[in-house]
């Protein structure tokens, strides 16, 4: 009797457990909903103005007036900041947090991407001279005035000496020479460069740091400077000029910022910004935890990926958040083809010579391009939250060549190209003109589910052409090793992040001597000129465009570079993910832009009543 009762109890328990799992969470209907571009409906405020009140040069934002107070809670994935020293940041989290605390002379207009003054009141370019006028009367968070001495110190003692992260020094170096810096008066400085160099101007967004606070540490040399402002620094001692200052850092838990009372931005009623009292970053380990925290209302903002987008979009109407479509991001996914025709130290070819003839055949590369079903990949792998990509510049780049329209998948076209290239189909298998079966490997980094799924779909598409494709996900580090050192690979599915503002940042990929010139990597210090004709043209374009200062002069050059890449297809671009972000509706003054995202105007954001 007892046993029967026990059995019934267990059965009931199992049934109940099963029932609770059955609860429909995601509707079974179409999960790929149409994402409307809700940015169209956003009414952007007029650009900020310079306003002088009592001899102090403020920036006046033209955004609607809001309420003061409240806090915004954001999650950040990873281990949190490594340093608060804006000159020494090497990872995204640290630099975005240091960016809150320190402003640079110039900044970027969030919609157009133009260079606009920030800590500077205005700037003039006269040939090779860049004159910067500083704001008068603005102060560091400890009340000391911000003057030309701080600018002189930041550039002469930190940037030009390569202290901290030397990438700005590298970027400012023109033909191995650093610019000269002259102090005209307490509020004017002048940079003099040796020759026109377009990427130079944007480098002036480098954060300006307080001389009276930094100098004792920078004088002690590199190692002292590298540990200066580490996360365990006492927050109240840090002197800043940004909209927020550090309040508290708790390892692996959170970073709390409070508003800087001396900030130089004001609203239409001449009240000092920012509106928010506090900005909290919760440090979380992975995406799942980030989602849970948002669901539990512990955080206010969440960037959505893949299948989550449909779910959140459907729940949006009944919830307290809005979902914003920020457009394609700067990330690009592509298949890269190894065009390397060199031999290694032992006289062995990096790439099998038979394969070399295929890969160097433009018709072959073009056939691959026609055969790949980008739309299918976007629908199935990115859940429709991506945009097919055909250009080397990302879709939100201000230099995007809009005349490259791309094409649909067309198997007939692909077969035609293969025929042109001398390949033959026999019993559904593809052979080259010497009778070799077309077979090659595609690598990607294992563990990246997105790329692994792309690999499977691409393999399918290419096998439809009669090729034999071995898809090999390998560990990320060994893939990088293959690409940059051993060169023994055929094709790889990879991704890179570009800059939407400055195509010249991609020079390591596109110029023939670049350290990331993956598709035809030359060893360091390689002397022989074996550039392909279009590689040579790319070299010339990158060199020439960097010397031109006007957007209108540079644009045609960079258009040409995208055209070359599109025609030659050393990289076959697949798609760019679209950024979708949910933020609680109570936050106002949200003006998302494809170029700058959602939170670029933190000082203007307020909590509505």
């Amino acid at each position: 009797m007892k046993r029967v009762l026990g059995l019934i109890l267990i059965f009931l328990f199992v049934v109940l457990a099963a029932k609770s799992c059955l609860k429909a969470d995601i509707p079974e209907k179409c999960s790929c909903i149409y994402l409307q571009d809700n940015n169209e409906s956003v009414e952007y405020p007029a650009p900020s103005k310079n306003v002088t009140i009592n001899g102090i040069d403020y920036i006046q934002t033209q955004a609607p007036i809001g309420n003061f107070g409240g806090e915004l809670i954001i999650s950040t994935i990873g281990e949190g900041p490594k340093t608060f020293n804006p000159c020494n940041t090497k990872d995204a989290t640290s630099s975005s947090m240091a960016g809150l605390m320190y402003d640079g002379l110039l900044s970027t207009e969030p919609r157009t991407g133009d260079v606009i003054p920030q800590l500077a009141k205005s700037f003039e370019i006269n040939g090779n001279e860049y004159t910067i006028h500083l704001r008068k009367g603005i102060k560091w968070s400890d009340g000391k005035p911000i003057t030309a001495d701080d600018v002189m110190y930041t550039y002469n003692d930190i940037v030009f000496k390569g202290l901290g992260n030397p990438s700005t020094m590298d970027a400012m170096m023109i033909d191995g020479k650093l610019p000269e810096l002259e102090k005209i008066d307490d509020f004017t400085v002048k940079f003099i460069v040796t020759k026109p160099f377009a990427p130079f101007l944007r480098q002036l967004s480098y954060p300006i740091v307080p001389k009276h606070y930094f100098k004792p540490y920078s004088d002690k040399g590199t190692s002292a400077f590298n540990t200066f402002l580490n996360p365990n620094t006492k927050p109240e001692t840090i002197v800043t000029n940004g909209a927020f200052r550090l309040k508290e850092y708790v390892a692996a838990q959170r970073v709390v910022f409070v508003k800087n009372p001396n900030y130089y931005k004001i609203n239409l009623q001449n009240q000092k910004l920012p509106y928010l009292d506090k900005l909290v970053y919760l440090i979380v380990g992975d995406t799942n935890n980030e989602i849970l925290k948002f669901e539990a209302k512990e955080t206010d903002i969440l960037s959505l990926k893949g299948d989550n987008v449909a779910r959140y979009k459907q729940k949006e109407k009944f919830s307290d958040y809005s979902v914003y479509n920020l457009g394609a991001d700067t990330g690009t996914l592509f298949i890269v083809i190894n065009l390397n025709n060199r031999k290694d130290k032992d006289g062995k070819y990096y790439v099998n010579p038979i394969k070399q003839t295929w890969f160097s055949n433009r018709s072959f590369r073009s056939a691959l391009d026609w055969a790949i079903d980008r739309k299918g990949i976007v629908q199935n792998i990115a859940f429709g939250v991506a945009e097919p990509l055909f250009t080397a510049e990302s879709l939100n780049s201000i230099y995007l060549n809009k005349s490259i329209k791309g094409h649909k998948m067309d198997k007939q076209m692909a077969l035609m190209r293969l025929k042109e290239g001398g390949f033959k189909l026999n019993n559904g298998n593809l052979y080259d003109n010497k009778g070799n079966r077309v077979e090659f490997d595609i690598y990607t980094n294992a563990g990246n589910l997105e790329r692994e799924a792309i690999g499977v779909m691409v393999k399918q598409d290419l096998e439809d052409l009669g090729m034999k494709v071995n898809f090999k996900p390998v560990e990320f580090n060994s893939l990088v090793n293959k690409l940059t050192n051993t060169h023994d690979w055929d094709m790889a599915i990879m991704g890179l992040t570009g800059s939407p503002l400055e195509p010249h940042d991609g020079k390591n990929v596109w110029t023939s001597s670049g350290s990331l010139h993956m598709f035809n990597m030359r060893p360091a210090g390689y002397k022989i000129d074996d550039r392909l004709s279009w590689e040579k043209e790319l070299d010339d374009i990158f060199n020439e465009a960097s010397l031109k200062l006007n957007y209108s002069e540079r644009k045609p050059l960079y258009d040409r570079y995208q055209e070359i890449v599109y025609n030659e297809k050393p990289l076959i671009y697949l798609y760019s993910p679209i950024r979708i972000t949910a933020i609680r509706k109570k936050f106002k003054n949200i003006f998302p832009t494809p170029l700058s995202g959602l939170l670029y105007n933190l000082e203007e954001i307020y909590i509505g009543k």
């Binding site: 970027a171 590298n226 580490n230 692996a252 838990q253 979380v284 380990g285 935890n289 849970l292 390591n508």
Partner: protein, 327 residues
Amino acid sequence: MEFAKYILKRCLQTIPLLIIVSIISFFIIRLAPIDPLAELRLNPSISQETLNKEIKRLNLDKPIYIQYFSWAKSFIKGDLGYTSAGEKVSTKLKERIPNTLLLTVIVIFMTWIVGIPLGIFAAIKKGTVFDRILTVISSIGMAIPSFFFAILMLMFAVKTGWFPVGGLTSYNYNEMSFIGKLIDLSRHLCLPVIVLFTISLSGLQRQMRANMLEVLDSDYIKFARAKGLSEAKVIYKHALRNAINPMITLLGFEFAGLLSGAALTEYVFQYPGLGRLILEAVMKSDINLVMASLMMGTIMLILGNLIADILLMITDPRVRKTSAEVQ
């Protein structure tokens, strides 16, 4: 005197052990095809000079045995070196150790306070309904993987909103009153403690029950009963003393698990402890951090065993005698 000699001997024995452990782990980590600089290499805006500087800083340009010796040299001096991000390993560990200790000490304390009496009870009442229910519960506790249980608990927290989703303190912790802080801490600790408690309780309870049953079955207990001793005296004076010995060895292992035992649960709950730090370090092949934590784990294990042995020598005359003979 005997005692001090024994401890000294044991300490000396640990030195070769530590060397072997460090060599094996160092080489396994370094020979794994993980390049700590892979991310930097794929960053288009990083120049070759910057890369070379990083390689120099991390000593990656030297052969592996030289890397090991330079690590060992500074380890002996007490310098744990820097992480690959340039922070001091010792400060990183110091930030996390108190958090992990807080969690594990609570859990161990609770498990032992509850688990030992439950085990004794289950053994005495063997075969009753109480014993059977305990068996079912502890079987569930032993069968359920900790990370899965932790995820279930997290879902529970999200759906009900009764508990915070992971972490150790709320973002406004520092502005709370003392009582508020205490409540906040216990709310955060509640779920991870439940997970770890349930899992380790089951094992401990079963172990205690088995020991106790074995002892209760022995001749001297029968003799004690036959002698007419009261049941309480039989159990608490004769049976329990003999049944507790294996538990002391277990306590030594628990000591070793103080710093590393909760890694998975910590990770799921985003608990700011050592486990999460080390897991992230292993993924990035952050050699100094991983080595420091491995060495710490080894030392804790050896120490735990030593403590258990000493405790055993105190409680059990048989062990005292044999270890003296061995010497």
